[in-house]
Every structure is written in structure tokens, then in C-alpha cells.
């Protein structure tokens, strides 16, 4: 049994303590925008925000999340994809297959929330999510665009 605040809504879920938050979000709560890619916190497809910090939910046991923690998934990031990162992603046509992009957007939006004008170096450090289609060049450009739009 766990109580989770996801995208501002409280969910009580029947689940074993060790279950990764990723699978609770996907299977018990039913939000499938957060993706499984590796299960070992290497690829970042499962990235969500917990109290504003980007976290890899595939290695976050549900028991480590408190009822008052605010979890935000891609579905709850903004109304109508209005986060500057999402708007810049659209402008640059970043996604190819799109599978990793929920995680990329969660990582990039967390970066921008803390760092209004990230340098290339800051982007290098923050954006360690894997994209197998190789959209990195556009991800970098879109983060810069979003930073300018926000400024």
C-alpha cells in the first residue's frame, strides 16, 4: 500500500514495497507517458520530477516516496504542452521515434527551472538521457530556444 501524489492527484495503490515507482506509475496509476528503457537508471526514459528534482523512476522504490512528495510526470508537466521546453521541442521538431522524449523533456524542464540560461556545458552535464535516434543536436538547440523564450 502506498499513497502517491502524482500530478496533483492522490493515488492509493496496492503494491509491494520494492516496486519501482516507474511501474507503479505505468501499471497501477495507468500513466504510460513515462517509459521503461533499461531498469537500471542508465537511459533516463523513466525520468519524472519529485519535488522539482529530476529522478529516474525505474530505480526509485515506491517505498522511498512519501505521501507528501510531489511527483510530476510528463502528463502533468503543463497544460497543453505549454512548458517552454515542450514549445521549443515542437519548434525544432526534436522527436524522431519519440520514445525517450518524455524523459528528455522532464530532464530539460528540470534543468531550465533551476538554470534560466544554461550554457552548453550545463546542458552536457544535465542531459545524460539516451536517445537512440540521436536527436541530441536538436535537444541542445531547443533548450537554448526555451531559455531565450523564458527570459
Amino acid at each position: 500500500m502506498a499513497r502517491l501524489n502524482i500530478n496533483g492527484k492522490v493515488h492509493d495503490v496496492q503494491v509491494e514495497d520494492g516496486t519501482p515507482l516507474l511501474w507503479v506509475i505505468r501499471e497501477q496509476v495507468g500513466l504510460t507517458g513515462t517509459k521503461y528503457g533499461c531498469g537500471v537508471a542508465q537511459c533516463g526514459a523513466c525520468s519524472v520530477h519529485i519535488n522539482g528534482e529530476v529522478r529516474r523512476s525505474c530505480m526509485t522504490p515506491v517505498s522511498s516516496v512519501k505521501a507528501e512528495d510531489r511527483i510530476v510526470t510528463i502528463e502533468g508537466l503543463s497544460p497543453n504542452s505549454s512548458n517552454p521546453i515542450q514549445k521549443a521541442w515542437l519548434e525544432h521538431d526534436v522527436p524522431q521515434c519519440g520514445y525517450c522524449q518524455s524523459g528528455q523533456i522532464m530532464a530539460a524542464s528540470a534543468l531550465l527551472a533551476k538554470n534560466k540560461n544554461p550554457s552548453d556545458k550545463d546542458i552536457d552535464t544535465a542531459m545524460t538521457n539516451i536517445c537512440r535516434c540521436g536527436t541530441y543536436q536538436r535537444i541542445r538547440a531547443a533548450i537554448h530556444t526555451a531559455a531565450k523564450a523564458k527570459a
Binding site: 528503457g37 510528463i74 521541442w89 524522431q96 522524449q101 536517445c131 541530441y136 535537444i139
Partner: protein, 734 residues
């Protein structure tokens, strides 16, 4: 496993005709087709209300246009490009276009009116561009005829723009939505009689239109097969014998009895076991706790070292065949003023699609359905039919947006077969979603084949290349997947990019004495097409060795190549384009070095320059310029996206990509030991598209093969030493 799952399962045309008794054909107005909104909507056939002008095009009363697509979308932009081609000829309003994938069962039921659904070999656009453009033009003609009939004027007096038809003389005007119903009842013209636009006059195609599928990829609403939800659905986790060719000996089901959510342990086939549970995480947890004994078989004796020795023997063995054999290579080499010789190697690689293998199957006594990420929905359908035992016309395959493909999800529908066999052992009508763990995905791929190459060149006293011999020894994809493609024991496919024949993947150099040879050396490891396939390895062998030859000749890398390319103007033009944009011959910042390469694949010509520096023995790629002649450029921005992605794909392989074999199994099993390029290592990529409008080449694959050699040649320039073995992570470069 080996004999069961590895055959391509393309449906033959005959099989379709025989089993398409239910076909409707013709111009059925308002025919229902599913949207890819949700699994449920797809299965129940949410209506696309509107008039079907022809099988590709449905127009609704509000002027919105639904363009149906038979090819798969896995990120490569094919849905957008095909829609642009149809819309261009249709002359509709691009802002009102949506796309709708067809299903394999619909294609079957209508006698394959949508043609081939297979999406591999960079063929998605180039091998359907003619009939989709013709269908757009034919539909435009029917819509205009309908308006002409209504106004009782000659159709030749009408004009059309953006889906609005006008008769200037009578001041009449109407829109596609208003005449669509009438148009759909008109006889369809013979497609061959339809005149197509000159691509130089394109207004929608040829332009950098935004992708049609971006919006749902921004907020998590895009459904992938791994997200499928059906009422009463169960989830399955799977383990296959870790050693290829091994068998399942036994498992102890009692040990996991009572674990949360577990419904059933299923023996899938003689090498595979699955646990079915209410959720996938519970299925996987129980599977990990299940004691399993494997009979590993002979494959367990194999290792990276034994495989390397096997391939090395092939470099000098007598059983190779030659494709090109011009002049007398051995004699010319023996008498050369200067000899250059080198042995190169490239390892097994995994596709590692971000979405692991998955499929959801629902079976009843008379119906089989699969929701699947597939590059070939007809192969999925055929696999479903075979594994379920139901005839094709009782089967349906709903293709989902793929979370990456790269060649992994084409003819080899192993995961569909497994999901079907699991569903067979569940109560009828129970949907089951099979998801492979990343570990399963990486250790049970159809890998990029391993190979080595012996390269020998003879230079004359002036440093001209007089003889070149290329001996490739390595595993054959065709031997594993399509043995019938090997004619007279000669498997040309492994020499892709070095072929004699023009048009697809021809070698770009003329050498007086030239011989290309292949010695097939197979292993027990399954292999398959990996984005770019054999152009990647052969591109490294040829283009890195050309660098060695140029340096031995004391000549500039570009000039040395140019001298051999007079008979290959398209190869040469692309090389020149890359060299120009890449500032070949111009000064570089201190410590930065440049490399160049060119190669051909998938009907397209590619070349690259790379700018590289070495810091503490580590390679940093700063900038790459890629030039591509793909004949026609349907969407320049998406071509650039494919080129950028190809650089990332190629650099992952160059820097990190390697799978080792130990005791018959693949060692690397997740992204911590099979690293993928990250953003920080991505160079600035500049794409130069130089279409010549006289052929249709591929886009998704052809530029990968020049990435590694351009970088390796830049490293050679930096260190003075050639790099002959990949990946770079294993090499000490200072």
C-alpha cells in the same frame, strides 16, 4: 530457437490472393478504418467518416484529408514524407492533413491495394513514391471532375489550389470536402496515365514541413505497443536460453507459487519460459526468482576469441568468392613498387531500440489479434497466423508507433511468435502483453554481424593505386535469415557498398586491378540487418584503408580519392560537396585534425568530413559535415534529422559499440556495459543535401557508413597511426 524463429515471414502475394475472399475493393464510400488513438479504438474500428476517393485518400465534409500510410513510422519521418508526396499531387491544404496507418488485415482483405508494408532498407519512401504520388494526382482529377460535372463545364477549364476548385469563367468555387462524396463514385483513372509534377515545382513535398507526429510525443499521449491496455489484459516476462541454440532443461514452478499477481508459468517453446502475472513488474519479479536449468548445448564453447580465430582463418582461406575481379590483383600486388597491407575488424552490435521488444496478443477460437511495433506488419500477421494456427483472414496486426526499429523489427517477428504462444496457453480471449527486459533484449538480438577484412594495395612508383584487394571474412545475414538469397553459394550482401553493379551500393573507385572477396564464416550468434547493415563495416574497411594508401603514396586524402573517381561522378560530387562545406585543406585550430570519407548505400551517395582533437588520449569530435545525394529530397529538415541521428548512431558504434561472447552468451546486457553516445559527445552536424533529381535513394541509413571512417581518418591525422579495430574504447590512442 535457431531453426524456429529466424526465417523472414514476408507474405507471398499468392497467399494473399488465396485468402482474400472477404475483399471488398473498389471505392467504398465511408469505409471504416481505425485511427491509432488507442488499442481499443483500433480493434473496434473507430470510424474515419468521409469519402474514400481512393484507397490512400479519405476526404471529410470539413475539407480535412486523411492520408493512409502502409509503411511503418519508427522516427525516420516516413509518415510525414509520404503524406507530403500525396498532398503535393492532390493539391490539398497541408494544414488539414492527418495520417492514418492501415493494418495488415485490411491490406489483406483488399488484395494488397496498399502494396508492401515492409519498412527497411531505407525503402519507405523511395519504393512507394510513384504509386502514392499517382494516387494523389488521380484523386485530384476525380475531385475536379466531380466539380466539373456539377457545374456542367469542361474539367480542363478548372483550376485548383489548396483544396479549392475554381471555374473562373463562371465564377464558381467549391472545396474538396463538398465534392468528395460525388468524386468517390467516379471511375478511377488508370494510374499509369496520370501525369506527375516535376519535383522541381513541388510546393509541399521538397519543403521542410513539420512532422505530422510530433505533438503527441511532447505530452506522453503518443501510444506505443508497450503502452497497450486492453480489458482483462495480463502481462508476461520472458527468458530465453542465454546460450544461442541451447534448450530449456527444467524449471521449478513451485518456488514462485504464491508470489503476488502471478497467474501462470508458461513453457513458450523448447528454449523459452515466461511468467504471466497481472502486472509486468510482478511477472518479471517472479521470473527472476524462478529457478531455471538450461541445457546450453555446443554454443557454450564459443567465445570472442574462438570467433575471432574462425574469422581470421577466413582471411586467407580458399573458399572465398570474388564479386569484382578486374585485372590481375595478385600479380599486380606482387610487383608493386610499394605495398600496403592491413587487417581490420568490427564486432557484433545490438540494435538497442529504446522500446524493448514487445507485443500484445489476444486469441479466441476464431480470431487472432496482435498490437505490435513492427517494420513489417504483414510479417507480424503471418507470424501470428502460423503461431496461432488460425488462417490469415482470421488474423489482424495493428501496427503501433515504434519506439525505434533500426532493422530489429522487420522480418524476424520472434516476439510476436512468443506472445502468441503464451496467449495460446491462457483462457481464450485473454489479452497478454509480452515485454522483454532490457537484458533480454540486448542478449537475444539479431546482431550486426561480426567481420574482419584483409586489405592489400599496390602503389606504383608515383603513388598511384594500381591494385586493391579486399577480402571480407565474417558472418552472413542471409545464411541466418534468408538462405535462398544466396545464389550459387555467393552471398553478395556481405559486400554491400563494394558492389560492381551501379545504382544501389556501388564501390566508388576505379582501380586497374581490383578484387572484392567474401569468405563466409558463420557463428552460432543470430545476426540480422542493423541500420546501415553491411555498408557500415565495409565503409570502415575501404575508407580507412584508402587513407592508409593515400598516406603511403604521400598524397592528400581528398586528391588521392578524386583521382580514382572519374568514372563515378555522383560519388565524386558528394565527396566534393562534403570537402567544400567541411573546409578541406583550410587551416584548423591548433590540435584539431580533419578526416574524410565517402561511400554508397541504399541508392544514395554519402560523404563526410570530421574535425577531431585528442585530449589525454581521448577523442573529441567537434564538427562533422555530411553530404548526401538521395536523388529527391522530400523533406530537407527531416533528411537533416536523419543525418544527425545517423551521426549519433555511427558514433555510438565508433566509440563504444561492442558485444563480447563468453561461454556462448552475450556478455554486455544493458546500457552500463553497452554504452550509447550521450548529448555531451554529440558533435555539431552540418547536412548538405545535393539532390540530382534523376533517381530515388534512401535516407534513413546511407550516411551512417561514412561517420566512423571520417572520424577514424581524423584520428589517424592526429596520431599518425591508423585505427583498424573498433570500438575506440578498447584502444590506447596516444
Amino acid at each position: 530457437m535457431k531453426t524456429k524463429t529466424h526465417h523472414n515471414t514476408n507474405l507471398s502475394r499468392r497467399k494473399f490472393i488465396i485468402s482474400s475472399a472477404a475483399a471488398t475493393g473498389g471505392l467504398a464510400v465511408g469505409m471504416k478504418l481505425p485511427f491509432a488513438k488507442s488499442a481499443h479504438a483500433q480493434a473496434t474500428g473507430a470510424a474515419a467518416s468521409g469519402a474514400e476517393i481512393n484507397h490512400w485518400i479519405v476526404i471529410k465534409p470539413d475539407d480535412s484529408v486523411v492520408i493512409r500510410i502502409a509503411r511503418a513510422e519508427m522516427g525516420q519521418g516516413t509518415h510525414t514524407g509520404l503524406a507530403q508526396l500525396v498532398a503535393e499531387e492532390l493539391e490539398c491544404d497541408w494544414s488539414k492533413v492527418t495520417v492514418e496507418p492501415i493494418t495488415a488485415g485490411q491490406n489483406l482483405a483488399r488484395k494488397r491495394v496498399w502494396g508492401d508494408m515492409s519498412t527497411g532498407g531505407s525503402r519507405g519512401i523511395r519504393t512507394s513514391q510513384d504509386y502514392v504520388r499517382q494516387s494523389g494526382a488521380a484523386a485530384r482529377g476525380m475531385l475536379m471532375q466531380a466539380a466539373a460535372n456539377e457545374w456542367k463545364v469542361p474539367v480542363g477549364e478548372l483550376t485548383v489550389s489548396n483544396g479549392v476548385i475554381t471555374h473562373a469563367a463562371s465564377n464558381h468555387s467549391t472545396s474538396y470536402g463538398k465534392v468528395a462524396a460525388a468524386a468517390s463514385k467516379l471511375p478511377a483513372p488508370d494510374l499509369k496515365s496520370v501525369k506527375l509534377k516535376d519535383p522541381r515545382q513541388w510546393k509541399i513535398a521538397g519543403k521542410p514541413m513539420k512532422r505530422v507526429d510530433t505533438v503527441p510525443k511532447l505530452d506522453g499521449s503518443q501510444m506505443y505497443a508497450i503502452d497497450v491496455k486492453l480489458p482483462g489484459m495480463l502481462n508476461a516476462a520472458i527468458k530465453q536460453c542465454p546460450v544461442f541454440g541451447g534448450k530449456l532443461a527444467s524449471y521449478d514452478e513451485a518456488k514462485i507459487a504464491g508470489m503476488p499477481g502471478v497467474r501462470k508459468v508458461v513453457k513458450v517453446d523448447d528454449s523459452t519460459v515466461a511468467v504471466v502475472a497481472d502486472t509486468w513488474w510482478r511477472a518479471k519479479t517472479a521470473l527472476d526468482a524462478l529457478p531455471i536449468k538450461w541445457d546450453e548445448g555446443d554454443g557454450a564453447k564459443a567465445s570472442t576469441a574462438t570467433i575471432a580465430a574462425h574469422l581470421k582463418e577466413g582471411l586467407t582461406a580458399n573458399d572465398a568468392f570474388a564479386d569484382i575481379d578486374n585485372g590481375d590483383v595478385l600479380k599486380a600486388y606482387a610487383g608493386a613498387a610499394k605495398k600496403v597491407e592491413a587487417v581490420y575488424s568490427t564486432p557484433f552490435l545490438a540494435h538497442a531500440t529504446m522500446e524493448p521488444m514487445t507485443a500484445t496478443v489476444r486469441l479466441t477460437a476464431d480470431r487472432a489479434e496482435v498490437w505490435v511495433p513492427t517494420q513489417n506488419a504483414e510479417a507480424s500477421l503471418a507470424t501470428l497466423s502460423t503461431a496461432s494456427g488460425l488462417p490469415l483472414d482470421k488474423c489482424e496486426a495493428y501496427p503501433q508507433m515504434l519506439g525505434g526499429g533500426f532493422g530489429r523489427r522487420g522480418g524476424t517477428q520472434d516476439y510476436v511468435r512468443q506472445a502468441t504462444l503464451i496467449a495460446k496457453q491462457l483462457p481464450a480471449g485473454t489479452p497478454v502483453k509480452l515485454i522483454w527486459s532490457r537484458e533480454e533484449d540486448m542478449t537475444h538480438d539479431f546482431y550486426r554481424p561480426i567481420s574482419q577484412a584483409l586489405m592489400q594495395a599496390g602503389l606504383d612508383a608515383s603513388g598511384n593505386l594500381e591494385s586493391l584487394r579486399i577480402r571480407v571474412s565474417g558472418q552472413s545475414i542471409n545464411a541466418h535469415l534468408s538462405p535462398t538469397a544466396i545464389k550459387d553459394g555467393k552471398d553478395l550482401r556481405q559486400l554491400q557498398g563494394l558492389w560492381k553493379e551501379p545504382g544501389d551500393a556501388q564501390i566508388g573507385y576505379t582501380v586497374p586491378n581490383l578484387r572484392t572477396e567474401y569468405a563466409m564464416r558463420n557463428t552460432h550468434v543470430p545476426v540480422g540487418p542493423w541500420r546501415g547493415v553491411n555498408t557500415n563495416q565495409n565503409g570502415v574497411y575501404l575508407e580507412c584503408f584508402m587513407e592508409e594508401c593515400a598516406r603511403a603514396a604521400g598524397k592528400d586524402s581528398l586528391e588521392f580519392r578524386r583521382a580514382l573517381m572519374k568514372n563515378h561522378p555522383k560519388h565524386l560530387a558528394v565527396l566534393n560537396a562534403a570537402a567544400d562545406k567541411g573546409n578541406w585543406g583550410k587551416p584548423l585550430p591548433p590540435g584539431v585534425h580533419r578526416g574524410i570519407a565517402q561511400f554508397m548505400g541504399y541508392g544514395s551517395y554519402s560523404a563526410a568530413t570530421a574535425e577531431v582533437s585528442m585530449v589525454d588520449g581521448k577523442v573529441k569530435v567537434h564538427r562533422m559535415v555530411l553530404a548526401l545525394n538521395c536523388g529527391h529530397a522530400v523533406n530537407p529538415d527531416q533528411i537533416a534529422a536523419q543525418v544527425e541521428g545517423s551521426v549519433a548512431y555511427g558514433l555510438s558504434a565508433t566509440f563504444y559499440g561492442e558485444l563480447n561472447v563468453e561461454k556462448g552468451r552475450i556478455v554486455e546486457n544493458n546500457f552500463h556495459n553497452y554504452r550509447i553516445l550521450q548529448l555531451a559527445d554529440m558533435p555539431k552536424v552540418e547536412t548538405v543535401i545535393v539532390p540530382t533529381y534523376d533517381f530515388w535513394g534512401g535516407v534513413g541509413e546511407p550516411t551512417i557508413c561514412v561517420v566512423a571512417p571520417a572520424v577514424l581518418n581524423a584520428i589517424y591525422a592526429a596520431t599518425g597511426k591508423p585505427v583498424r579495430n573498433l570500438p575506440l574504447k578498447n584502444l590506447k590512442l596516444v
